[in-house]
């Protein structure tokens, strides 16, 4: 079970263990990071679980679907490192990855 470093909106960093059978969104949410709204509960419809991913780890993540891409087009602060955390399952190769939470626009 990889541990990642979650950069909260206030700049503090939490170490969060990610169950490989759950999603990154679920791990961050269940760790009590309340600013990750994840309003739709993970059904790929709201883009409020938007995070920025450590570029060094980008190639270890599942590819982005057209639906995810389309939803990210609707957020204010999309970057080349944007992903929806509800779409990501992580394996041990992601140990130590930095994930930055993003203000909902």
């Amino acid at each position: 079970m990889p541990s990642i470093n979650v950069v909260r909106l206030d700049g503090s960093v939490d170490s969060v263990a990610v169950d490989p059978e759950g999603t990154l969104m679920e791990a961050i949410r269940d760790a009590g990071c309340d600013e990750l709204l994840a309003l739709c509960g993970g059904c790929l419809s709201c883009a409020t679980c938007h995070v920025h991913i450590d570029p060094a780890f980008a190639d270890r993540l599942p590819p982005m679907s057209e639906d995810e891409d389309g939803l990210l087009d609707m957020v204010d602060n999309r970057s080349p490192h944007s992903r929806l955390s509800c779409q990501l399952r992580l394996d041990d190769s992601c140990e130590g990855m930095r994930v930055t939470l993003v203000e909902v626009g």
Binding site: G22, R29, G41, S45, D67
Partner: protein, 427 residues
């Protein structure tokens, strides 16, 4: 003080004045704090927005096992000790609806939810939008041509039933039968039941379950391009294949869950429009406002009034100690009007900042998976209804004059929705 509050407290689960106006009732208990202990039914009541979010997000300390039956039905066991996880699982089958997705906890929930989460994606909904558009147009044209309708039974229920049937791939021949079974059943959280509720052989979930079993077996043999095939052949995150019966339970639940709540949301939305002609004109002039209109209806009059949780271990809500085994009632309808969260909460305002954060679809792990579908359904039907009418009004022959309206709400402590809505539609 506590004694006095107890004497004057109305019983949310049986009092029909609460059914007629739950919002007035929730305001009457709000002064007791965002979370308080009710001695009447020996449960903890949450009316605050922040407090509700806290409980809904805390799946470590709170089980959903009692969500379908509600917090007032006695537990099937006597809680013992400071952690009742094992007791809940040992007695899960004795909770009414304890084997429904909304009642699942932990990994079982995570796994089933992972399958559902792929079903109502934007591309999937887009693919089905053509059917939703054409069926909405057909229904609305028919109703406008005859000058009016009873919206709930003539439009809302068949509409949401056929939309989910089309989406899932239910054969046309079976759809009408399903509708009859659903129409004849009491709503969930029925307040009129004189006997304890149960799932007998005539309950919609049981009847539909037998059909869905055949579909799932068929789709495992002969996969097609429909959601039932996708569901039937889905795997869990660990790569294992779900038991066919589990898929049957999920599909049946999806079909059942998509009915009442979406149909009632249509009723609540259109009742508001019929009572506010200026609002109608505003939306007619600019249909792009319809999504914000729907969100504000969801906040003010979403079709779910409350949900329930059960404290798994000794814990607390906003500092109030809650012992293991305590049922918790989360009054989402009250949270959605909490003045600490919503400025001027009784005003209908489509421009509210961060409006979509309302709790009409819940929050956290159990957030309604059908919300994206409900939003599309209501938006499209409203677009057609507004485009094809110059005026939508309540039929005073059935609902009485303005100021003395007679509106019948489904006798449910969970669902907020009209049983009938008679409309006059001017082309």
């Amino acid at each position: 003080m506590e004694q006095q509050a107890q004497d004057t407290e109305r019983d949310y689960f049986t009092d029909l004045s609460v059914l007629r106006d739950p919002y007035e009732y929730f305001e009457s208990i709000r002064e007791r704090g965002g979370v308080f202990r009710s001695t009447l039914r020996n449960l903890v009541v949450v009316t605050g927005f922040e407090e509700s979010v806290e409980v809904l997000r805390n799946t470590e300390d709170f089980s959903s096992a009692n969500a379908p039956q509600g917090p007032a039905v006695p537990l099937p066991f006597t809680p013992e000790g400071d952690n009742i996880t094992d007791q809940i699982e040992a007695h899960r089958g004795e909770f009414l609806g304890g084997d429904l997705l909304v009642a699942y906890d932990g990994q079982q929930h995570k796994f089933s939810r992972s399958i559902l989460n792929k079903l109502f994606t934007p591309s999937r909904l887009k693919a089905n939008e053509e059917f939703i558009q054409s069926y909405s147009a057909q229904l609305i044209d028919e109703m406008v041509a005859k000058g009016g309708c009873e919206l709930i039974n003539e439009v809302a229920t068949p509409f949401v039933t056929l939309v989910i049937a089309d989406l899932l791939g239910v054969p046309a021949d079976d759809r009408e039968h399903f509708r009859e079974v659903i129409d004849n059943a009491p709503p969930p959280g029925n307040m009129e039941a004189d006997a304890p509720p149960s799932f007998d052989e005539n309950s919609p979930l049981v009847v539909m379950g037998t059909y869905f079993f055949q579909y799932v077996m068929d789709r495992r043999e002969n996969p097609r391009e429909d959601i039932l095939s996708e569901l039937s052949n889905a795997t869990y995150p660990d790569g294992s294949t779900p038991d066919a019966l589990e898929i049957v339970r999920l599909a049946t639940f999806l079909f059942g869950a998509g009915q009442d709540t979406s149909a009632k949301l249509l009723g609540n939305s259109i009742r508001r429009l019929a009572e506010d002609h200026a609002l109608q004109d505003e939306l007619r002039a600019d249909p792009r406002l319809i999504p914000a209109f729907i969100e504000e209806v969801l906040r003010m009059e979403g079709s779910t009034k409350m949900t329930a949780r059960l404290a798994v271990r000794d814990t607390s809500i906003a500092g109030l100690p809650v012992a293991a085994g305590t049922p918790v009632m989360i009054a989402v309808a009250a949270a959605n009007r909490d003045p600490k969260r919503w400025e001027n909460p009784e005003a209908f305002d489509m421009q509210r900042p961060r409006l979509r954060e309302h709790l009409a679809f819940g929050r956290g792990a159990h957030t309604c998976a059908g919300a994206p579908l409900a939003r599309v359904e209501v938006r499209i039907l409203l677009e057609h209804l507004l485009a094809k009418t110059s005026r939508i009004s309540l039929d005073e022959a059935h609902h009485g004059p303005q100021g003395a309206r007679e509106l019948d709400y489904e006798p449910s402590f969970i669902i907020r929705g009209l049983s009938k809505l008679h409309l006059v539609l001017a082309p």
